[in-house]
Subunit: 180 residues, 2 copies
């Protein structure tokens, strides 16, 4: 699987507008974020993940997601967020059915996300098995008028039972030029 | 997560007695296998994986497994097998419930394995997300008198529906000294 690197530094397609540390150690403040398939540019930090196979989504849910979701790179989607998170050992020690029960049974992660499609495009990158400092990187893209919807989506995720297992979370907001 | 490397070459704790290619390209013939947490030794090839969190096992199954399984490194377990496999894109394109249905519903992978515990110790390493040539490395350890049981276990796995998705498989057999 191809790895994707997010390099925070002086250059990149995306300008960083804010970096908020919600839980755990912070990341250094940077001006720009470069996204690349290989670690090609230097930076203050680099987070790498892999757009891997689905771990919890079931067939009917995927059909619902695919029928509504939009791809990355839409011309009007000039706002983005990168949310790296790590989850506790208690999360990883659970079995598949226990994690799924919290993920969808209690937290309704997938169902709640459907409401915000196609306005908010999303891509999940896995990084726990890569020996990275975070377990997941989630990338969101949206047009400026959908920022309130994005805040609502995030508030929903953060209030869910699943998020009680989050031991580190950074919220990085970004913008780019419409032609970028 | 710590990565584990299996390096095939001239030196290592385990002597290689055979390397059989069942599907796909072969691996070079080597005399010995070294197992290390870091890629410390040179060799003809190196396969790396991570003993990651469980992807399919459910709580009741884990309780049954844990109550019966033995650890690696038992003094009398001087026989081992390393079975690297890759699975097809069709497997990885399935959703979680579809893979689980084949894995346990049709192939009864976990249930069939219980029968061979504690005689055959087993450790699964994931490597698909690491960009490795294989998706999984499975390591088995057993005493010489349990080799027939191990062959039966393998024959069961290979005849199951899950194995129809295997696109590459190598079967490496090894021995070590009882004090090794």
């Amino acid at each position: 699987m191809a790895h994707t690197s997010f390099t925070g530094g002086m250059t990149g397609q995306w300008r960083v507008t804010s970096i908020a540390t919600l839980v755990g150690p912070p990341l250094a403040s940077v001006e720009a974020l470069a996204i690349s398939q290989a670690p090609a540019v230097d930076g203050a930090w680099r987070l790498t993940g892999v757009a891997s196979y689905v771990r919890y989504v079931e067939r009917a849910e995927r059909q619902a997601l695919v029928s509504r979701q939009a791809g990355l790179g839409r011309t009007d989607a000039v706002c983005a967020a990168l949310i790296p998170i790590a989850k506790s050992q208690a999360w990883w020690d659970m079995t598949q059915d226990e994690r799924r029960q919290i993920f969808e049974g209690k937290s309704r992660h997938i169902a709640a996300s459907l409401k915000y499609l196609p306005a908010i495009a999303r891509q999940l990158y896995h990084c726990r098995d890569l020996g990275e400092p975070f377990d997941f990187l989630t990338w969101f893209e949206f047009a400026p008028e959908h920022e309130p919807a994005f805040e609502e989506l995030l508030a929903g995720l953060r209030s869910a039972e699943e998020w009680r297992y989050v031991t580190r979370e950074i919220d990085i907001r970004l913008t780019r030029d419409a032609q970028g």
